[in-house]
Amino acid sequence: MKQKHLVVISAVFLLIAFVAGALYYRSEQTKAATQAYQSNKSTFVRDYSPTRGNPGAKVEIVEFFDPACGTCKEFSPLVKKMMDAHPDKIRLIARYAPFHEGSEGVVKMLAAAHKQGKFWETLEALFAAQSNWTQQHRARPELAWNYIGGIGLDIVKLRQDMNAPDIDKMIQQDMEDVKKLNVKATPEFFVNGKPLPSFGYDQLKNLVDDALAAAY
């Protein structure tokens, strides 16, 4: 019957349009991010951003993260493993994206710890205890203090530093870059400027492998 064909064809057409639109949108995003990485790299790496790995590495993973984000915690050891597998070839850059309620206070803590050169140790300790200070997607910085005692931080200095205006500025700058780079969820990875085609560990690994193959 003609009417039935019309309905089926419409449904198929709409679905194809949706998928095509999604693919087109993704490819435009990738193009825009890659261009921005070449023309305006500071959007990806600020001079105050904590980094890990060889500064001269040719593969850069930029990670926008939230200390209260469970998936960021899950990815942390995976990224580390990836870096260990290719020593000196990968550099990780951490960017703040405090999307959870209350996590800005924890980010301030991390930024102040970075001033003492202990960003990664502090982050690791916070991730390890994450479920203790994040409840129902709400970060509670006052509880997070209990878990950063064993790292050798100067807590008095940390408390002073974390409320300094320069740290506010850093976080604001990172949030501006979040908007510019269209980061909507954490963790968001960019490998040499390329965003993940879709979210997942394999997708990240593929991007990194491709970048390694291209650079080395």
């Binding site: 009417q3 039935k4 309905v7 419409s10 709409l14 949706f18 999604a22 993704r26 269209n182 909507k184």
Partner: protein
């Protein structure tokens, strides 16, 4: 008993257009949330609750044509229209902050897209609900005479 074939045909077409609109709205909203990554606010969710069922209810009434579907679809589209209008008034600032129903997560007053300077997501939703409602009422009127 049976309406003339031409009236049947135009009722069928009206319901079909309603269904198309519901599909486009559903896929559009999914595009905003799943592809572009906009988190839906609570009012958006209520509007989705009214819109998504239409995608399944309306085609069931196309084969064979069942005008009674208006009785099931109209309450959904009317409610959706009301929520969309409320949402628009909230964004426009005509409804004061104090009775804003959402404080956590994404605020409903946040404007995530603005095409041509005035086309927002709640406007698209409201238009879609309004047209669906109008078409359903047309089908209802025809069947009652």
């Amino acid at each position: 008993m049976h309406a003339p074939a031409s009236a049947e045909d135009s009722n069928w077409t009206l319901l079909f257009v309603c269904w198309l609109l519901a599909c486009v709205s559903t896929l559009g909203s999914l595009f905003f949330s799943e592809v572009m990554g906009f988190a839906p606010c609570i009012l958006c969710w209520y509007q989705r609750i009214c819109m998504y069922p239409l995608v399944l209810i309306l085609p069931a009434a196309l084969f064979p044509l069942d005008r009674n579907v208006v009785r099931y679809a109209l309450p959904l589209s009317l409610l959706g229209t009301v929520i969309a209008v409320f949402h628009l008034l909230l964004v426009a600032g005509y409804i004061p902050e104090s009775i804003k129903p959402c404080v956590q997560g994404v605020p409903c007053t946040e404007v995530q897209i603005e095409w041509f300077g005035f086309v927002t997501i709640p406007l698209l939703s409201g238009l879609s609900f309004l047209v669906i409602t109008a078409l359903l009422i047309m089908v209802y009127r025809r069947s009652s005479t």
